[in-house]
């Protein structure tokens, strides 16, 4: 399936990537080539085949619902771009 520039603009928006128009044109070419490679899958009959969930058929482990980690907020926030009073700061969302 070939993608054009407007398809890439839509995908880039879904992926939250701000891309200039020239980049979208280039990516349309690259992504179309990758999808052409992926299209080899179409020739395979997968009727009755179950999708693989885990190579060793393991299921998700559960653990008791009790806290296992200490509070490290100050430590974690020391690497944040912008914080104030223990909160992460982003541009105003609500007017």
């Amino acid at each position: 399936m070939a993608l054009d520039q407007s398809d890439v603009e839509k995908i880039a928006h879904l992926a939250r990537l701000a891309l200039p128009a020239a980049a979208c044109t280039r990516y349309a070419h690259d992504l179309s080539n990758i999808l052409a490679l992926v299209a080899q899958m179409d020739a395979v009959d997968t009727a009755g085949v179950a999708p693989m969930a885990h190579p060793l058929h393991q299921t998700q482990r559960l653990r008791p619902d009790v806290p296992t980690e200490p509070d490290q907020r100050a430590h974690f926030q020391s690497i944040a771009p912008q914080t104030d009073g223990g909160l992460y700061l982003v541009p105003r969302v609500i007017e």
Partner: protein, 484 residues
């Protein structure tokens, strides 16, 4: 000192022929001299390394040393290291100092290893040449105009150039085995779930697996021993006992059944690489192994399936990089949307953006069944091929890579050509099987890797099979010019 295997270094340290501080200083001097050209390290941690070496010397003196005590190693920059930058080869994490150690890092530290620094890699482990790194390409020590492979290219080059005794790597589609092959070293990707993924920056969570890269199978066995094992902090870690890998190294190979998949020896495999692989197979016959042809009929679909599953998982995993809690944030965002979009566009390089977009597309409404579900079904067929093969053979052998190392820039502008570099390695990841690469006879002075794939949790057998060949041959002992 840098010429020694880990076993020999450990013996010298115990006999006080030199201290770990002297050994660490020796490696740091080599890094200072050779790394500016090779670019194998992103971060060198001289002071913490010397401090760790001092503690190792104290343990050696006190008689409390572990097998890896005082041995200088390096970590791929995908493993979180507390207090030491973890960039994942990306501008996104250029200033990221992890608040904790990955389980693999913690385990190797407990085993006494000294960390010299963090090795270069393809950005977020997405690449087969180490050219997608924000920190620039790594040069192959065997020919500085060529790539080292990827994504664990920095670890592979550092080991080949004797800048560390061993290193960690990760392998999502061949990222340990392909660079190991192209740099002439030994690397093993364990069974999915064998080594903890906790603190290992996620790319494709159903495929990612950590493993050791070293000069020999015996050295890799020592590292894997420390790295492997159950970790409750990784929900996909598997609770299966870890055997004594070193104890099993010398088992006799008489009667070993080797399967050669005909799909791994067809068009696309360089003829001289094929001849080198054949030479190694003949050595195994000399050791008493029986060789037969097998078929993995769905394996040619590995690359297409992988380029649905891996990007899909990557688009989800990399959604966390939003410029809010850590990582790159754009200047003066106009609003929240602008903050997300520009931080991500500036922080991620082109290959990562390509994969995020492919993943976003194949998971988007209306396309999920045609791509992701279809890929997961074919993945089942690929795994079933291996299951059938392992009823007839003990190990599967073939090339790790279709060619020797290619020139820097040769495939940079053609993503699909780059993806085909991993054509022989991806199937083991899709099936979750352990796979290994060891050096065999070089072609035109460039290393060639023999890939050995085993059944689930048969890392011990792979190491044994690799070690026996390394006892009979000297391919793994070759050193690049200028690195002796």
């Amino acid at each position: 000192m840098h010429e020694q295997t880990i076993l020999a270094l450990a013996e010298d340290l115990r006999a006080r022929r030199y201290s770990s501080v002297e050994l660490t200083r020796h490696y740091l001097e080599r890094i200072a001299r050779l790394n500016p050209d090779l670019n194998a390290f992103i971060t060198v941690a001289a002071e913490p390394a010397l401090a760790a070496a001092g503690r190792a010397d104290a343990a050696l003196a006190a008689g409390t040393a572990e097998p890896l005590t005082g041995i200088p190693i390096a970590h791929k920059d995908i493993f979180c290291t507390r207090g030491l930058r973890t960039s994942c080869g990306s501008r996104m994490l250029d200033t990221f100092i992890a608040p904790y150690d990955a389980t693999v890092v913690e385990r190797l530290a407990t085993a006494g290893a000294v960390v010299l620094g963090k090795t270069n890699m393809d950005e977020f482990a997405m690449g087969s040449s180490n050219e997608t790194s924000w920190y620039g390409p790594v040069r192959n020590p065997w020919d500085h105009t060529r790539v080292p492979g990827g994504s664990s290219g920095g670890s592979a080059a550092a080991i080949a150039a004797r800048l560390c005794a061993a290193a960690t790597g990760t392998d999502t589609g061949g990222s340990i085995r392909q660079p190991a092959a192209l740099c002439g070293i030994t690397g093993i990707k364990p069974t999915y779930g064998r080594c903890s993924r906790w603190g290992m920056i996620a790319f494709a969570s159903s495929l990612d697996q950590a493993g050791p890269m070293a000069r020999s199978a015996a050295d890799a066995a020592l590292l894997l021993q420390a790295m492997a094992g159950f970790d409750p902090r990784d929900s996909t870690s598997i609770d299966t006992p870890v055997p004594d890998y070193t104890a099993g190294l010398n088992q006799d190979l008489a009667g070993l059944r080797i399967g050669l998949p005909k799909e791994y020896f067809g068009d696309g495999l360089d003829a001289r690489t094929a001849a080198s692989i054949d030479g190694a197979i003949r050595e195994y016959e000399q050791l008493g192994a029986r060789v037969s042809e097998i078929s993995l009929p769905n394996s040619p679909l590995s690359v297409p399936v992988y380029y649905v599953v891996a990007p899909a998982e990557c688009s989800s995993n990399l959604a966390r990089f939003d410029g809010v809690r850590y990582g790159h944030r754009c200047q003066s965002p106009a609003d929240l949307e602008d903050l997300y979009q520009r931080s991500r566009a500036e922080g991620f390089g082109p290959e990562v953006q390509r994969r995020i977009m492919i993943g976003t597309y194949v998971l988007s409404a209306g396309y999920y069944d045609a791509y992701y579900l279809k890929a997961q079904k074919i993945r089942h067929l690929i795994a079933d091929d291996f299951k059938r093969a392992f009823t007839r053979v003990d190990v599967i052998m073939g090339p790790s890579s279709p060619t020797t190392a290619f020139p820097i820039g040769a495939k940079r502008d053609d993503p699909v050509a780059m993806y085909l570099s991993d054509i022989y390695t991806i199937a083991a990841n899709l099936a979750g099987l352990p796979g290994m690469s060891i050096p065999v006879a070089p072609v035109d002075g460039l290393p060639v890797g023999l890939q050995i794939i085993g059944n689930y949790f048969e890392e011990g057998r792979l190491l044994n099979v690799a070690h026996r060949l390394q006892q009979e041959t000297h391919w793994h002992c070759a050193v690049p010019t200028g690195c002796a």
